[in-house]
Amino acid sequence: MTYDETTLVSLTEDAAAIIARYPVKRSALLPMLHLVQSVDGFVSPDGIQFCAEQLELTAAEVSAVATFYTQYKRRPNGEYQVGVCTNTLCAVMGGDRIWDELSEHVGVGHDETTEDGKVTLERLECNAACDYAPVMMVNWEFFDNQTPESAKQVVDDLRAGKDVAPSRGPAKVCSFKQVSRVLAGFEDGRADEDQGAGTATLAGLEAAKGQGWTEGAK
């Protein structure tokens, strides 16, 4: 492993905190792979070695798990993972067109990263936000009701180093590494940040109010 002393110490501390969450050590593997991505920006050979040593597994066992899941990247990822949902519902509502225009605009295809290392594009499967179709995700934050123009604007802003806010979620999109650390189960103090619950989320409540329902009379 080529981690320097400080990195290795903090990785080991974090790994211990993760392992402590589970009755059986091996359960820590998925969060630990997220942790590795928070340091290296992908599942690096060093990271695999580190997980293997911590969990008393072979590197081959760790690799076999890492390659099964799409969120673990085998190559250095862009600072922003930009995914366009092209599962049926979003695709039909315009996701296919958004994908085509965005990919053309940025000049990279599926699972490819821009030369400046800023953006990795990806075609996504359904991300459980179909009521906001067509949907885009940036570092796993929700960008709802997209158009080709809005999607291109987001990516341009990200590449220009501007802060970008999702439709639902925190005040701004964090980097891939920062978000990977949250996915390893470490809070980042942003849970109370909010952009509103969203129109579709509240659509039924609004309709219920139209029927005379009030919150007090549950």
């Binding site: 059986v24 085509d100 570092n139 989320t201």
Partner: protein, 442 residues
């Protein structure tokens, strides 16, 4: 008359800081927990049995009965694992539930754990929703700080720890045994059943796996009682549920209503199909359920009626498509999804979804033959009922149902040598149907 909506889980979603412990508690939250801790665990299981609550994750298995399947206490650990993997195309109810009211789930987890004798519960959340994970992590921390979690909860002698675990992108991990393998740090592949998780689940110990919405419904049942719950719904499908409307509908979103409501009634509340268009086909319960048409507008959306009409209530993921939509395009895309997500463990699904995709892409592109349409059905035959888990069956649902209902549309692709539809007409924004590349270079 329109059926009255029944916001229960969604009741507080519009409140200020709806995700916080304070807001949840002010609205009456965690009072059901105190009540439950004063009851005998067996009585809680019985109450959930009596309520008729059925699993909200897709299969509709009676929740109380599932809890009752756990073997008697042998002194070793037993586990509750909440399935928060929500990845079935069209399904988008658990994510807003956890984003807007994570404490409803946490309270449900505590009551359920108490009822089944579990001291360590897990929430397996899909990894692709980081803000939901933030909210859950915070909610669990708040619950510990308030004494709702930890040792000797509110002096009851009951101990509980909750771990919120993020997955890493794999639809199959929603299948309960694949989820358990994944939670154990392995590739997410389904296990042979039996043994069922109730007997040998997480770490080979007795385990209950329940969907987010199932578990989050428990506090309200404890609070308001079995009769309140059974007053909603139909004879064998009790209570309320979140109906998720998406697609070509004026006001898409989450509508919490009694089971048995119809799409016609839901559409009335949601402003109808988008202006100037009419409904063509829809899924009642996600992409793994056979599609419906206008003929099913009045089918009560409960387990029995949807089943009798040839589909499944599934996750109440109502994806609505109007007459501009090419059914072959829609089905091809879903099938590519199943091919992508097939875990590869069994041959019928692994090979079958590959061939289905090949044939469908050929037909969609206008390079198919009439014989291909029959070949599709034959291939479905060799997958459905012959696969190791329900993913394989689900992959065939939209194909078989769409060929049955819209065979002429498949034939039109073959005859015309291409797709008869203008894809731009289906989109929710304007564009002309020239490929993006041509336009950019023009």
């Amino acid at each position: 008359m329109t059926v009255t909506l029944t916001p229960v889980l969604s009741a507080t979603w519009g409140s200020d800081k709806s995700w916080s412990l304070d807001t949840y508690t002010e609205a009456g939250g965690y009072a059901p927990l105190k009540k439950a801790l004063g009851m005998a665990p067996g009585d809680l299981v019985q109450a959930v049995k009596d309520s008729g609550l059925r699993g909200r994750g897709g299969a509709g298995f009676p929740t109380g009965m599932k809890w009752g399947f756990l073997p008697p206490d042998d002194g070793g650990p037993r586990y509750l694992v909440v399935n928060a993997d929500e990845s079935e195309p069209g399904t988008c109810k658990d994510i807003p539930t956890m984003m807007s009211a994570p404490h409803a789930l946490i309270e449900g987890v505590i009551i359920t754990s108490f009822a089944i004798g579990c001291n360590h519960a897990f929430i397996y959340l899909r990894g692709e929703v980081v803000h939901v994970y933030r909210r859950l992590l915070q909610a669990v921390r708040e619950a510990y700080e308030a004494g709702h979690l930890g040792k000797n909860i509110h002096g009851s002698g009951f101990d509980l720890d909750v771990t919120v675990h993020a997955g890493a992108g794999a639809y199959i991990c929603g299948e309960e045994t694949a989820l358990l393998d994944s939670l154990e740090g392995r590739r997410g592949q389904p296990r042979l059943k039996p043994p069922f998780p109730a007997v040998a689940g997480l770490y080979a110990r007795p385990t209950v796996v329940n969907n987010v919405e199932s578990v989050a419904s428990v506090p309200a049942i404890v609070d308001k009682g079995v009769e309140w719950f059974t007053a909603m719904g139909t004879e064998r499908s009790k209570g309320m549920g979140l109906f998720s409307l998406s697609g070509h509908v004026t006001r898409p979103g989450q509508y919490e209503a009694p089971l048995g409501i119809t799409l016609r009634e839901l559409l009335e509340l949601a402003g109808g199909i988008r202006e100037g268009h009419e409904l063509k086909f829809w899924t009642p319960g996600g992409s793994s359920t056979p599609i419906f048409t206008q003929d099913h507008l009045d089918t009560p959306l409960d387990y029995e009626s949807v089943g009798a009409a040839g589909s499944m209530l599934g996750t109440r993921a109502l994806q609505l498509f109007d007459e501009t939509t090419c059914v072959v395009r829609a089905v091809t895309r879903w099938t590519e999804f199943y091919k992508h997500e097939s875990c590869g463990k069994c041959t019928p699904c692994r090979e079958g979804t590959y061939w289905l995709t090949q044939i469908l892409k050929r037909i969609e592109a206008g390079r198919g033959t009439q014989a291909d349409i029959q070949q599709l059905l034959d291939t479905c035959d060799s997958i459905a009922g012959r696969s190791f888990c329900a993913l394989g069956d689900g992959a065939t649902s939209s194909i078989i149902s769409s060929v049955t209902l819209f065979r002429e549309e498949y034939e039109a692709h073959v005859e015309q040598g291409g797709c008869p539809f203008d894809h731009a007409a289906s989109a929710l924004f304007e564009y002309s149907d020239t490929p993006a590349t041509e336009e950019a270079h023009a």
